[in-house]
Symmetry: D2
């Protein structure tokens, strides 16, 4: 199980199991002499941590970031930054009943098959808890990008069949974080919350979609052949648990268009070249155009549900399973900071290459 590192110029190495002593991340390549805002780092983690609201999982973690290296007197040293997050609420016993049952939608048996040994408690290395380290790393990348005038904004754009209206105005972080579902459009947010609450009562879960927009991008970020901006974004974002699809700009709708509709004409604006329209989502030829980057991520409904399901156990016997762990009716609100973090890590990695 190699491949726990990602990134070329800004490499992050993820470690930790859901119910081990800690999860964390090592960030290598972060430039020296950058003053970090550790409060902002903690605030990103707080947006991801479980137990924030009624519509999410009940696991309770304070997720305090502890910095073990790479920072001295508040500034980065250029050396690897190690961030540790202790696992506090590791109630392993909750999972004893699931030790030899292969849950639908989960990779339990694949772990047994592939590695011959597995930490069955809470999903081990497949747990969404692992993303705490990613969010910590992304929070630092975000600070670096902000200092260069680049901002990243994600929100829950769809829950189940409930979709927010399209908008050309970037939603504010205040608007997005003003409700527990993290959708900027209040009316839609209320419908989403109602649907999730209902699914929760039923022991069921709901899928959805997150939209992410990057503003302030310089032109020319990304490399034209195997380092296309959309491809590297795909690599990072498709590693987020439950993501089953990614699309840029008009995305799948673009596939139903004609060239004369979709082509973004170039124009001069304030002395810079930009696209007059932005069907491409801010990426052409694998490089950023300077227009906002826009992407959509499809999330499957969480596999962890409380409804009875048919499956098999380690001996191949059919069993009926009544619950598959701590029930999380909709993972999307907590996934918003993860999407922002992974997007930030991609942009910073490619930006460091460009510089």
């Amino acid at each position: 199980m190699a491949r726990n590192s990602i990134g070329k110029n800004l490499q992050i190495t993820s470690f930790g199991e859901s119910h081990g002593p800690a999860v964390g991340v090592v960030i290598d390549g972060f430039p020296a002499n950058f003053t970090l805002d550790l409060m902002a780092l903690q605030s990103c983690l707080d947006r991801r941590r479980p137990g924030q609201s009624d519509i999410t999982t009940a696991r309770n973690e304070s997720d305090q970031a502890q910095i073990l290296s790479g920072v001295y007197e508040g500034k980065t040293l250029g050396s690897p930054i190690t961030i540790l997050i202790q696992n506090a609420d590791a109630q392993s016993k909750d999972y004893d009943a699931l030790k030899d049952v292969y849950r639908p939608g989960h990779a339990d048996w694949l772990y047994n098959e592939k590695y011959g040994h597995r930490d069955h408690r809470g999903g081990g290395r497949s747990s969404a808890r692992i993303t705490a380290g990613w969010v910590a790393a992304g929070a630092l990348a975000m600070q670096y990008l902000n200092a260069q005038g680049i901002s990243i904004t994600a929100w829950v754009n769809q829950v189940w069949t409930i979709q927010a209206p399209d908008t050309n105005t970037l939603p504010s972080q205040t608007g997005i974080n003003g409700n527990s579902v993290r959708c900027w459009h209040e009316e839609t947010a209320n419908k989403m919350i109602a649907a999730i609450s209902e699914a929760k009562i039923q022991g069921d879960s709901l899928g959805g979609a997150i939209r992410c927009v990057v503003e302030g991008m310089p032109a020319g970020v990304g490399e034209p052949v195997f380092g296309k901006l959309q491809a590297v974004l795909g690599l990072y974002l498709l590693n987020i648990n439950a993501v089953k699809g990614i699309a840029f700009g008009d995305g799948f709708a673009a596939s139903k268009m004609r060239g004369s509709e979709h082509n973004d004409a170039w124009k001069m604006e304030n002395g810079a070249i930009v696209g007059a329209t932005n069907h491409s989502g801010g990426i052409v030829g694998g490089m950023s155009t300077g227009n906002p980057i826009q992407l959509d991520l499809a999330f499957k409904p969480t596999s962890t549900i409380a409804i009875a399901q048919q499956t098999i156990d380690a001996e191949g016997n059919s069993v009926t399973l009544n619950a598959t762990g701590r029930h999380d009716p909709c993972v999307l609100p907590r996934a918003v900071p993860i999407v922002e973090a992974m997007t930030a890590l991609v942009i910073m990695d490619l930006l460091l290459e460009t510089e």
Copy 2:
């Protein structure tokens, strides 16, 4: 412009410009002592080459693969395999008029901005011609996978608003290649061809979607954290020109489902564990389940059209452009072997890690 290599265990390095002497590929990590079928390699290239039919670009290239290293007496040596494809029909003059005009949907000005120097002829390094090397590499990977009982089948599933019916039966390569649009469903194929022909007359282009299915996959291919099978597929496939989205299994439709609908129950079949349904598209927890892998790729309509468009030139003046190069009304039929090739390269790379 680094990042012209991709892959960890099977690394391919792409080289060549559209109108330089040649394009090609170096394949590193291909196991030794494997007997290659060079006819099958050429046949993959023939399916990609331009000038095959009325509904594609008129550039005429024989695209003969020339093997410069890594093969001795018909068998691989284990050393890097270098495949060269000469550029024959490099009519550079066609592009003189476009030298200082920044075409809509193309990255011309981004190249100038980023690299300060550009081969403007035929898109240089952004040309779809570059993918000839990828197809050659993928053709060898495909032979390796076939020998292990793995097959990869892609087809044009949608052109513009015309969509093939869903099917649970894998279309045959004969059925797919039986028409110029490479859609297995004859009636749909005819409608697609008619639409492309009409767009061609209008000087316009059409988007569409390709579906790709991998059968015979062993379980456990892919790594659980940053090497998830879907993420590595995303990295490779989103590097294909004009691709604006990728989705796995039910993809974006999964985002409108409930967990109780989407979860694939595990069952025993012939002594092996498999999913009873396959909403997940054969990937759970970042690893293959043994069920067929299914993915969809959204292609934007080709940017190269013959309809007049507004844009700017290198001095920032508004200009009207009447044609943007050799007109290609629909890139999808020729993209089918590219999708198969890139998919094969991913699977082989991860399979070599698993072994």
Copy 3:
């Protein structure tokens, strides 16, 4: 300051500063389901830790390894193994006087120049303390190799001008660790200890050489072009602080030989091909031959001395420096486990590729 990870199949990521909260390592790619001996791990760290004897630095650290991830019920999970070693005796004040002085033989000003910000306490990231993490990682690699019949033995072969006799018999670990200088030959060891004790009194330091032998190597480890066994050993071992040279087999003496003297004839032995002699040090064509691997490392005398030296301060003024930190008269005894660890990491990394 990227490049804090090394290895392809077994990647280790080093983190931590000398006087920060902790140093440590993340090990990615270690096979799952391997039972670890944590006592043996600690024992390797104990052989490296400061304060072991009279002839080494006085810094006192217990260097207790704490495992944060990757191990469950005593066995590896296949996921990244994180090992943390707290910095206990971090007497930062000792270094206040050196904050703005650029010590001879040290990289202080290069850090300031390159990174604009520096943890001046105890060498920060250049401290030999960082190698505690390497030794921990190497200790696990050693256990893996031992299980395959491969053993690694290093010893101090030279201190200053005092050299151990050549031997064809592999010294035992007991013999090597039986004295504080870690030289298997008692008479030589006594001379070395006397020389170091004298240098200590003078406030001076001594260079020397370590020899390392790998027995039980399978043939064919290493890759013939840019992954030659000697080159990868060079990459790792030349990263050890104070190492100024590496040589394999007859090494620099080979450069004074004729082909007819140096060529090792092949012969059959117990059904296997081996070299009848081993001038090559067990490596031919970049691959192991199955004969023992033998290499020598030259260490410069430690830069940290207590004798007055001329240098400059941060403003460029000439200053006389009376001490450059905690005096360590000879770093070689403590470097023995580091050499073994780094050698183990190389062999395991290449072995995993071979498998």
Copy 4:
């Protein structure tokens, strides 16, 4: 047999067998818009090519560099630069007699063992011919470094027991190339040539050493942990055929020194910090100090000799071998441009990271 690529920011991929159609290299990451001197490139290849003088191998190759990609109108495009060198004098039949014999000092049987298939003609992938591509890549790196005021000079410093005097004055390229053995000191050169000529008549070969000096280095090139300048130089240079050791500055002699002798004091010179002496060979803490870099490489005597030797054949029978291929009595003169090339590739790779 992976690992045919090397480098992080400037990646070179080596391909080709000694007696296949061609050898070559793909260079990825070379900055765009740099005007190349193709005559200088060819001149580097000419210094490496066989058949230059009486004291080298008789194989005759013109080694004409052919550029297939990455250069347009004399300037780099930023895209991969592919350089091809055809194999002209591929007299495969010379090697028929050696097909099933395992030559002393060669890796023939290891190839059979490891890969199960081998191009036995002229060493296949282990041939020194492969380095033609490295020299081509290094020639371009050298041009890039020269434009930044960095020069690299290597010479044969020792043949067998004949050693050139030490010098603090950098020898001129004219002086070095003024004789067939490439030693700047005429008297020593004559002795070396006499010794090689005698060995040639005897069918024997001689080892030796090459010294390489880099002048004009900026301070701070190299990364303090696993990217130490000496370690990356070790990785590249120990991949050169026949190299058995590398040492920096005083090297193995430093191991016999005291700290008070070896430490280089810092001083101000023309407003810059430099070492007052240069025992360290221009590298401290893994980074360049700005002083000249100096390194020595030990070469074993060429394994290919014409004297009768004992060995075994593929069936394990003892055989007497009268010649092991085209006899090359001393590889060192031709290795000089290889050493310069590999050194240039390292410095440029790390320099691109620094920028």
